[in-house]
Structures are given as structure tokens and as C-alpha cells.
């Protein structure tokens, strides 16, 4: 039998390898901190206490994590079907139209929970719409989805600028943003959730959409592992030829998978628009679509992994903000470098330590499996 592809124990696959990658990322980041003349241990302490040391810090961390859960799930769903959706950024941005339209129309006539339902449906519809064209081009015309989704991010960026300036911006205002929503367009804060643990949310914009994100994670789990559609998506992702053999309508599955992916990305728009700013403004996605790729990779496309990875990245965002405040030598750009290192090691270099770890466990497991085979 071929040992190079020996199966790893679950805890190695899902815990040890990500942790090794993360440890190396922080080690390299620490060296960078040393180079700018700061104490890396002190920097780590500030980051961690900044992110988890107070109710407000936790609130911010989870607020950022909410973005990444949505975009991470979006990337993961497409990935299960063998599609690399780089367009979550644009899909989330366009999804904002659905949220803003619902809020601006109904915020003074309906309670928040009804507006929320409409805003969710709207954001999913617009996000899905933005994924539909690349999906169709991939399925029926063979245009590579990586290229088209990247292109669509740029188109989304300019489309949204047009929408903000010409549709959403009230007359006589300069900034590219809508008016502020009435209470009907505002999601409640989750202060009660933190107060259960005796924490004070302070000024953190931690809001209801976090719970939506957790629900979405569960729905994605059901979709991928408990539905026929998810089964077909995974077959295509693993073995397109077997999907053909099994009589699956691959083109249809590509389109549906991308629609779901786009809808999840679109949902992300709830968090900043309806949960924090109470208005739609330029660049509200702020790169979360791209971070979602790293989150999905690091979370191994599993909803639980994605939630954990999203919280890690939320910590990097929140802790990083604190760090640049407390250590003036470490600028905002420096934080981006550290985040970049985590993405590099956890995402792009995911396979760097894998062969060594696999070889180690293959050797370890050999004697055991031989004994089992003999029995």
C-alpha cells in the first residue's frame, strides 16, 4: 500500500497541523516584531488581552469574527464542489444592496425582526446574483471561475460606488453613504449574551448577526453532509469523473453551489450595515471576503473549523488594533504584515509541514496497522 497518503488521525488533521502552522506564523511574526525593536512577548500579551481581556475586547473580536464566518462559509461551500470562489468580497459588497434596500424602505414602518428577514433574503438574493454570472460562465462556457470572480470584485466595487452616490446617498450630502436607519433597521446588540458571562460589552458593535452566522454554519454543515445536493457537490469536488459516472448534472450543481456561496457572502452585509453602522457606506466589506479564503482554508472547509478560524482572525483584527495603539513602533501596516503571515502559513503554506507530520504518523501507525491486519 502507498504510505504517502496514509490517513492521519482526526486530531492531527484538524488540530495539530493548524496549530503547528499557527505557531510558526507567530514565531515569524515575533521575529518581525524584534526587528522593529519591540518585545514580541509583550506584543503578544497586548494582542491577547486586547482581544480577550475585556468584555468590550471580546465584543469587538466576535464582531469581526462574524464577518469572517460568513465569508469563510461562502468560500467553503464552493470549495466542496471543487470551485474556488475568490469573489466573496464582491458578492458581500453587492449583497449590501439587499440589506440597505430593506432597511431604507421599511425601517420606520416595521419592527427590526421583520426588516431583518427581508434584509437577509435581499442580501442573499443580491449576493447570489453576483455569483450567478461567473457560475454560469464556468458551467456552460468554461471560463475559469477564479478569473471571473476576481474580475467581478472590481465590477462590484464600481457598481456599488455608483449605487451609493446615485441611489442611496441623500441629497445635499457629500459622503458616499445612505442616511442612518431608524430603529426598525437596527439589529440588537448582544450585550445580554456577554452579560451572562459577567462581561460588559461597552462600545463594541457585537450584534445579532453573530447568531445568524452560527445558524448559517449549522445549515452549511447540514447542506454539505446531510443533503443529496451536498453529496453531489462533494463528489464533484473530490472526483469529477465519478460525478459524471453517477449521473450527476455537474453544470447545474456548479451553478447551485455558487448561488449558495454568493448568498452566504451576501449575508455578511447584515453585520456592518444593519448591526453596526445603521447605514450602507463605501467599502463596508473591507477585505473580509479575502480573509474568508484564509478562514476556509484554515478551518479545512468545515463549519466548526471555520467558526474557530474566524474567531482567530477576529482576534488578530481586534488585538492588532490594540497593539498599534499601545506600541507606536508597530504601525497599522505592521499588523497587516502579521495577519498576512498567519494567512501565509495557515492558508497558502498549509501543506508545508504536512509531509513531515504524515511521514511521522505513517511510521508510528505502521506497526499498529500491521498488528491489526494480522489479527
Amino acid at each position: 500500500m502507498s504510505t504517502p497518503f496514509a490517513k492521519l488521525p482526526g486530531w492531527v488533521e484538524y488540530a495539530l497541523i493548524p496549530l503547528v502552522n499557527l505557531a510558526v506564523a507567530f514565531l515569524v511574526a515575533g521575529i518581525v516584531v524584534v526587528f522593529v525593536g519591540e518585545n514580541p512577548l509583550e506584543a503578544a500579551r497586548i494582542m491577547i488581552t486586547g482581544a480577550f481581556g475585556s468584555g468590550e475586547g471580546i465584543g469587538f473580536t466576535l464582531y469581526y469574527a462574524t464577518y469572517f464566518i460568513f465569508t469563510g462559509l461562502a468560500v467553503a461551500v464552493a470549495f466542496h464542489a471543487g470551485l474556488f470562489n475568490i469573489g466573496a468580497e464582491g458578492q458581500a459588497y453587492v449583497g449590501g444592496i439587499g440589506v440597505a434596500a430593506a432597511c431604507l424602505t421599511f425601517d420606520h414602518t416595521m419592527p427590526w425582526y421583520l426588516v431583518f428577514v427581508l434584509a437577509s433574503l435581499g442580501s442573499m438574493a443580491f449576493g447570489a446574483l453576483w455569483a450567478l454570472i461567473p457560475a454560469w460562465l464556468q458551467a456552460y462556457r468554461g471560463s475559469h471561475i477564479v478569473i471571473t470572480t476576481i474580475m467581478f470584485n472590481y465590477i462590484a466595487s464600481n457598481l456599488m460606488l455608483y449605487m451609493l452616490l446615485n441611489v442611496f446617498k441623500p441629497l445635499g450630502q457629500m459622503a458616499a453613504q445612505s442616511r442612518t436607519f431608524e430603529p426598525g433597521g437596527q439589529l440588537p446588540k448582544l450585550d445580554w449574551l456577554l452579560s451572562i458571562f459577567g462581561l460588559d460589552i461597552g462600545g463594541a458593535p457585537f450584534n445579532f448577526s453573530f447568531l445568524v452566522a452560527l445558524a448559517a454554519a449549522f445549515v452549511v454543515w447540514v447542506l454539505i453532509w446531510r443533503t443529496r445536493l451536498g453529496y453531489e457537490m462533494r463528489t464533484m469536488g473530490f472526483q469529477p469523473h465519478a460525478a459524471r459516472f453517477a449521473g450527476m448534472k455537474s453544470k447545474r450543481v456548479v451553478v447551485i453551489a455558487m448561488l449558495i456561496s454568493g448568498a452566504l457572502a451576501g449575508l455578511m452585509a447584515l453585520n456592518p450595515i444593519m448591526g453596526d453602522q445603521y447605514r450602507i457606506q463605501q467599502d463596508f466589506v473591507g477585505g473580509a471576503g479575502f480573509v474568508g479564503i484564509a478562514v476556509a482554508l484554515m478551518g479545512r472547509s468545515h463549519p466548526v473549523g471555520i467558526v474557530l478560524a474566524a474567531i482567530l482572525f477576529g482576534m488578530l483584527y481586534q488585538g492588532g488594533a490594540e497593539l498599534s495603539f499601545d506600541m507606536p513602533e508597530i504601525t497599522r501596516d505592521m499588523i497587516v504584515v502579521i495577519q498576512g503571515l498567519v494567512i501565509l502559513f495557515a492558508g497558502a503554506l498549509e501543506h508545508m509541514f504536512r509531509p513531515a507530520i504524515t511521514a511521522f504518523f505513517a511510521r508510528l501507525g505502521k506497526s499498529r496497522s500491521e498488528a491489526a491486519a494480522g489479527a
Partner: protein, 511 residues
């Protein structure tokens, strides 16, 4: 200087459990054309890859012109004067002939000087070996035969004295093949040594001076071509070994369940893979399709299974016509009572990263037994999988285990259980025992016979002649996409071997 251009001593190579080359000894005389024949998987390509530096032998020595050579990569092989023309050409399609010939041998960063020199050299070579090609033609615009000539020129340009051609006529028309043979004769006259790898006996007889036969990783014989015959080579190639006869009674053929008429299938390159094939399979009989791999059997199976669209022809399944020229719909074929055990279980029949239970329903996953709504009933899946595991003695008996962790034989049983337990009318089976351990082979053969006795119509494709002979009630031999003949299972191996090698006419003439 040694009389032998190449001498291999004790070459041995394993890939995991597969012993691809067993203690191979070979001497190739200088200035001759030496044929190497053998069925697919006999180890010819592995041996040549070792000679060309793609693989390293586990043990053994290579001597080039009497000098011990350490060929660690293809660069070393080129330096030793070995050139290789691959079955699939290694040309840059949108480069010109001249650019392709120079590629990797430019000699300097500035091309101008090199181009002038290369052009002159190419012209000289063309004249010397009588191979006209337009140096400025773009590769993709040239016919396949000319592209092959460019490959040969490329090797000679790199000063190759020994030229290895791997199945060179596979993609050529008969006229192009004849032209190639004239070129090879010319090369020989000019003192080059040629090694020709093929499974076509006719070519061996037509062009070679000596021929070596490989079978199951071993070099079983070397003969002077003038002193051997097609019959002898066929026998050596197919091999005589104990036939594992499977216990089976007389077939009781019923109605025609699968009827194929004038089926023609072309692949994406437009090469005709299945050429006007017609046959019937009746309920309660096994029709075996014998043939050397690559003679259209795979495409035939895929076309019937709805995985590949045919160019023309008709297929009738239980009396109902099937649209074989359309895009194909394997799901629809299953509904009509066709079960398909594909040739390649790793890429087609199974998803190796799935749990066993997930594979046990692949293709039937829309069935209501696995859930009433859009949701899958995981318990029902695992229960169904467990029943099959017990019936087919699949080990380990764990429906939640990843499929990749099952042995080849057990993986094949997963596929067979899935396709057989649906009570199909027609069963098409490709390579049922490829890479399967001996114990499982017997079980699989028994199952196939049982299916026949239950009145299923079975079409069996295998490159293992023994398997075809012991299971089939009728044997159809395919060669070059056509049916070369139909025989009873008691036809001799030699006779079938000759049909498989496409020398039917010759045999009939002799009779």
C-alpha cells in the same frame, strides 16, 4: 567499441506491491532495429523509462556502447546518446518546427546565431535521413505523422545514436506508419540503433531485426525476427499458464437485452476509437470482449454506460432505444436497468475520500431508500451499506471507514455490491479484477456467474484473456476499434491472441 548499443543487466523495479520489472536482461545490437513487445502492463514502458532516466532501477546495471552508464535523469540519457519519441508528443504546439527542435539546445541566450546554425543543421539532417519538414511550420497545423517526424529529428539533432519509439504507430494512419518504417530503415542504414516498443505483431515482423517479448514484468524471450513467427510471438506474449476455470453450467440465453448496432465513437482528438461495432447480449449469458488495452473497449463501455457520446449508431436496452449520440445520461441508463462497473474504480467507480457508505450509494443516491426529502437518511445509508458488506464479505466491515483505506479487492467488491444488488437487467463490467488480490478474484468471478444464472445480460470487458475465457459464453475480440472476430470460449489462446494482435487475415489465409 562494444557490438551492443545497449546492454541491460538484472534491471529490477518495484512500485509498491507491483513488481514492474523483474531481473531484466537485454542486449541490443548496434545498428539494428530491436522490437520489444508485450501486453499493456507487461513492463515495457517502465523499462524504457528506466533507460531514459525517468525512473531509477531498484537494482541492475545499464551499459551504453559497453560503457557502464548512470542514467539519473533524461539529461544524462541525452548525453549518453539516447533519444526518445514518446507516445504522446512532447512538442510545444504553437511553436514552429525549428523552435521545437532547438528548444533546450539553444546554446546561447541570444537566439539569432543559434537559429541560423540550427536551420542549416536541420536541413542537413533532413537530407541525410530523407525526412522533409518545413522548419517554419507551426506544430499544431501539422498532421500527426509529421509531428512525429519532428520528434525524431529533435532526438537526432541532439546527437542521439539510440532512438526509442514508444508505440509510435498508435496515432498514425497506415500510410503514415509505412512512411515511419521507411524512415526507421533509413536511420538503421545510417548506423543508428532503434528500439521499437509496440504490441502490434505485424509491425514487429515488418521492420525489426530482433524482438524481445515481455510478460508480467519479465523478459520471457528474445528471437531473431527472421527465425520466429507471428504465432510464436503471440503465444509468448499472451503466455501459457494454468487457466483458473470457474465452475459454471451451461448458459441458457433468453431474449436480447442489450443490442448494439453500428456503434462508432470518436475521442476528443477525432480519432475513431470504436468503429462500426454491432453485437447482442442476451439475458442469461456473458459476452466477453477481449483485446489488448486501448483497442476501443473502454470507449465502448463508456458509450453504452451513457458516459461518452457516440458519433453514430444505436443501442437498444431491453427493447427500448437509447440516445447514444446525445450528451449521455448515466442516471437515466440506471433507471432503465443498466448497471455499470467501470474499468477505473479509483477515478470513476468510487470517490476514495468518501466513507464506504457514501460510495455504496454512488449513482443511486437519488433513491428514496436513502431519504424521503432533500435530506439524506444517514442511518438508512449505513444500514444498506452494512447489508452489502455482509453479503459481499467486504473487510473491514465498517461503513464509516474512508474508502481509500480498503484494499483493492474490497474496493472492487464495494462497486460490485452496489451495481449488482440493484437487480439490473443488463450489467456491463470493465476489468472486474484489475489490481484485485487472488482471493477476491474467485469471489468476484463466482458472483458474475451467479448474476448470469439469475438471467442477467452481462457484457464483460477485460484485458486478462484468462478471465474472458473462463467467464464468457461468447468471446468478441476487438482490435483497432473493430470486432476482429467472435469465438467460443474453448477457442485456443493462440487463436484469440492472434485476433487480439490483429492478424486475423493471415491466420485465415493459412487455414
Amino acid at each position: 567499441m562494444s557490438d551492443f548499443a545497449i546492454e541491460l543487466k538484472g534491471i529490477d523495479k518495484r512500485f509498491g506491491a507491483v513488481h514492474a520489472n523483474k531481473n531484466i536482461n537485454l542486449k541490443v545490437a548496434r545498428g539494428t532495429i530491436h522490437g520489444i513487445i508485450g501486453e499493456n502492463g507487461a513492463g515495457k514502458s517502465t523499462l524504457m523509462s528506466i533507460l531514459y532516466g525517468f525512473y531509477q532501477a531498484d537494482s541492475g546495471e545499464i551499459f551504453i556502447s559497453g560503457q557502464r552508464a548512470n542514467i539519473k535523469d533524461s539529461k544524462a540519457a541525452i548525453a549518453a546518446g539516447i533519444g526518445m519519441v514518446h507516445q504522446h508528443f512532447m512538442l510545444v504546439e504553437n511553436f514552429s518546427v525549428l523552435e521545437n527542435i532547438m528548444l533546450g539546445a539553444e546554446e546561447s541566450a541570444i537566439l539569432t546565431k543559434g537559429i541560423t546554425k540550427a536551420r542549416a543543421e536541420l536541413k542537413r539532417l533532413e537530407e541525410q535521413y530523407e525526412m522533409e519538414v518545413d522548419p517554419d511550420a507551426i506544430i499544431e497545423e501539422l498532421p500527426v505523422g509529421v509531428q512525429q517526424r519532428v520528434e525524431i529529428l529533435k532526438a537526432i539533432y541532439r546527437k542521439a545514436d539510440i532512438l526509442i519509439l514508444d508505440e509510435p504507430t498508435g496515432v498514425l494512419t497506415p500510410a503514415e506508419a509505412d512512411h515511419l518504417f521507411r524512415i526507421l530503415a533509413q536511420l538503421k542504414e545510417q548506423g543508428k540503433t532503434v528500439i521499437l516498443i509496440t504490441h502490434k505483431l505485424r509491425e514487429i515482423m515488418a521492420i525489426t531485426d530482433e524482438v524481445s517479448v515481455m510478460r508480467r514484468g519479465e523478459m520471457v524471450a528474445t528471437r531473431k525476427t527472421s527465425e520466429t513467427s507471428v504465432e510464436e510471438l503471440a503465444e509468448l506474449m499472451v503466455g501459457r499458464h494454468v487457466l483458473l476455470r470457474v465452475e459454471k453450467g451451461e448458459a441458457k440465453p433468453g431474449d436480447v437485452k442489450l443490442s448494439v448496432r453500428n456503434l462508432t465513437v470518436r475521442d476528443s482528438r477525432g480519432v475513431t476509437m470504436v468503429d462500426n461495432v454491432s453485437f447482442d447480449v442476451r439475458a442469461g449469458e456473458i459476452v466477453g470482449i477481449a483485446g489488448v488495452a486501448g483497442n476501443g473497449q473502454s470507449e465502448l463501455l463508456e458509450a453504452i454506460g451513457g458516459m461518452r457520446s457516440a458519433t453514430s449508431g444505436t443501442v437498444t436496452l431491453s427493447g427500448q432505444p437509447v440516445d447514444v449520440t446525445g450528451p449521455g445520461d448515466p442516471a437515466d441508463m440506471r433507471k432503465r436497468g443498466l448497471a455499470h462497473v467501470p474499468e477505473d474504480r479509483h477515478h470513476t467507480g468510487l470517490v476514495l475520500k468518501f466513507e464506504e457508505a457514501e460510495n455504496a450509494m454512488l449513482g443511486y443516491h437519488r433513491d428514496k431508500t436513502f431519504g424521503q426529502s432533500f435530506l439524506l437518511d444517514v442511518d438508512a445509508m449505513r444500514k444498506d451499506a452494512m447489508e452489502k458488506i455482509e453479503q459481499y464479505d467486504i473487510r473491514p466491515p465498517n461503513p464509516r471507514l474512508k474508502t481509500a483505506n480498503f484494499s483493492g479487492g474490497n474496493q472492487q467488491k464495494i462497486v460490485l455490491a452496489r451495481e449488482m444488488e440493484r437487480n439490473p437487467d443488463v450489467l456491463i463490467i470493465g476489468q472486474p479484477t484489475r489490481g484485485v488480490d487472488v482471493g477476491a478474484i474467485e469471489f468476484i468471478h463466482k458472483r458474475i456467474i451467479e448474476m448470469r444464472d439469475q438471467g442477467k445480460a452481462i457484457l464483460l470487458v477485460s484485458v486478462e484473456l484468462d478471465e474472458i475465457r473462463s467467464l464468457s459464453d461468447r468471446i468478441i475480440v476487438m482490435f483497432a476499434g473493430r470486432i476482429a472476430g467472435e469465438r467460443n470460449p474453448d477457442a485456443s489462446e493462440g487463436e484469440l491472441g492472434l485476433l487480439m494482435a490483429g492478424v486475423e487475415n493471415k491466420l485465415e489465409a493459412a487455414e
